[in-house]
Symmetry: C2
Subunit: 385 residues, 2 copies
């Protein structure tokens, strides 16, 4: 089985039919044709998916966890084809959910994984970030001019926020085209960084990073990367399920040269386990940090799912660097301590609207957010002593 | 509202909360921050999503159909950003399904639509295909050599199948790399076409098309397109939700130069209406034909959904050419007449495993399939007279 990935699905099915249903799923996700029509003995032995286990699930209704052993050779070295073999056709079958996938070492090696990982984020922020969680805020709403977004970024950077990202809704619209917005925001953040460096206080030496949202087809993405490089931008955001996993890997992981923040837009298949997709797979595709909707916000992932996403982002995985989990989605400054208790220091906290809603008090609230992220860690270290 | 798209969602929500829930959805799919924190009056008036209608749905449970008016300027001219604004964040909210989207004329014009459309497929097959449905078969299983797949393609082409597509699982794996497979299969199909042209029978002048499966990131796709062009390949298959909608539009629609067949792999979000995604949106992105799982096969879309997909693929839509609906997914030769009764002549029928399962009788069964597709139409025309 060393050349097979072990893929676990939840299948709604009555007990008397589950063996046949599992076998049909193994065919669907491999050769996709009647087995008896396959004359090539190598294909039957080495390419056809195998049912490795069928286990009843706990809970209401007739459901089973089916583990398939799918041949690594059906994927080759292409990450889009991995998505295809994991959930391509059976995404259309409502009785099937994709729960988990364990890849053999050869496949782990073939996927790029994070280029910078958790330590790369901290190094980019500066020495003061060693061992502590990171703070992140968002530039929005879309519809504002590049100038107005840059002014907002300046305030957030001056307040000490570590990572200032474009809202994922900021693309290349007329109100703030990428080619205007990114230089303007980057220069505003750099000005704030210079002022902090010259200051004689807690923020001396702190470097805020701007992560613009990259979007569009290959030509547009390539043009955006040229701007990122020309302007000295030090991070980037993208939505792998919108630009496509293959483009995320082949263009951004390979050529961005800065830490990548993955956004989950359009990833809510509801039937792919969030820890697998947002945690393990996005990391394997090269995300250095992965945003997910934390419990208690505008989205309804339960706490256990959120903790499992973080675990998948950070747990040992071949030789790949860990990625930063980024709990988000309606978080508030008041919840910082509680969120850090949940997720620990290897975490980036993203608070968007709660800062912006403060109006004239936004700068103070952003500074309180940034300070609380650092303080919470010092308190924990003190407790640990 | 002429610069807004009207987007319809199904939202699970108790009646007393639906107004607030609909308003929250309008914010989520536009500015994504508290409205009171938006000081820019233009953003509030022109960018913020608006709740246009809330209607109770028929059926069990508390659910409503919510129609949002979302500003076209939040999308700009980028098809990935259209997916983002339609269902990016709310794909993560399990109480929301995306049902439908009606785009204003400016957005319809900005999207490419099919380059060849239904008539382009018929023209590519040859004069004998005028006014009739088309037949399609699949090369599989993956794991076979390029040579073996070419031999299979020859038999299907000689039998008179109109379009011979790669299984969507055929990517660029070691068993049959794209650069070996596509020239071998194309040459086999051309040999069959030459023999049919020289023959003095029903198939004289019939041209089978080979549609290889294009996959991977931009560099790999571009290399595959070079092979497609060099070998004189006359059609292509791709999975928009795997390679990414932006790459489908920017690379394939713009540069393939042959009719495009869209495959629904990974499109089973279950919470995006299949008629919208597989019918209207894939067509707007440039698909000349769209494959979907027909009712009664291995997948469980109901008949009404399948007919609605076909309707979305063919109904008037700005100035865009219609796309061919391609019912598929466990269809059999015996069902040809019934499927054509459902879908009519502007249809491509895809039968895969049922042909391959015939073993030594495959050539005869493929010929029967091809002949029945043509015969069914003649019978209908006779009836119409």
């Amino acid at each position: 089985m060393s050349n097979r990935m072990m893929v676990r699905y939840r299948v709604q099915c009555p007990p008397e039919a589950i063996e046949a249903r599992a076998q049909a799923l193994a065919i669907e996700q491999s050769i996709e044709m009647p087995v008896q029509a396959v004359r090539d003995t190598r294909v039957r032995a080495e390419v056809l998916g195998q049912v490795a286990a069928i286990e009843p699930t706990v809970g209401p209704g007739d459901a089973f966890e089916v583990t398939l052993a799918l041949a690594a050779e059906t994927v080759g070295d292409e990450p889009g084809q991995l998505m295809n073999m994991l959930f391509g056709n059976c995404s259309l079958q409502p009785d099937v959910e994709l729960l988990d996938a364990v890849l053999p070492p050869s496949m782990l090696t073939a996927l790029p994984g994070p280029r910078f990982g958790i330590e790369g984020w901290r190094a980019a922020v500066g020495d003061g970030a060693a061992g502590r969680p990171l703070s992140c805020a968002a530039l929005k709403p879309q519809g504002m001019s590049a100038h107005a977004l840059a002014a907002l970024a300046y305030v957030l950077a001056r307040a000490g926020i570590d990572v200032i990202k474009d809202d994922h809704g900021l693309a290349d619209q007329a109100a703030a085209p990428f080619a205007q917005r990114v230089p303007a925001v980057q220069q505003a953040v750099e000005r704030a960084n210079r002022e902090k460096a010259a200051a004689d206080g807690a923020l001396a030496g702190h470097r805020s990073l701007y992560a613009p949202s990259l979007s569009g087809g290959p030509e547009r993405l390539s043009a955006q990367l040229r701007i990122v490089h020309a302007e000295g931008v030090r991070a980037a955001l993208a939505c792998p399920m919108i630009i496509g996993v293959p483009a995320f890997v082949e263009l951004l992981r390979a050529h961005a040269g800065v830490p990548l923040l993955a956004h989950p837009a359009l990833a809510g298949h509801a039937r792919i386990g969030a820890p697998l997709l947002l945690g393990r797979l996005f990391r394997l595709f090269g995300a250095d940090a992965t945003i997910f909707p934390n419990w208690g916000g505008r989205f309804s992932y339960p706490r256990t799912t959120c903790l499992a996403i973080a675990e998948c982002a950070r747990a040992p995985l071949g030789s790949h660097a860990p990625a930063l989990p980024v709990p988000a989605g309606g978080m508030s400054v008041e919840r910082v301590d509680e969120i850090l208790d949940d997720f620990g220091a290897d975490t980036m906290l993203l608070i968007g609207g709660d800062l912006l809603a403060a109006g004239d008090a936004m700068a103070a609230r952003a500074a309180a957010f940034a300070a609380r992220v650092a303080r919470a860690t010092r308190a924990r270290e003190t407790t640990d002593d």
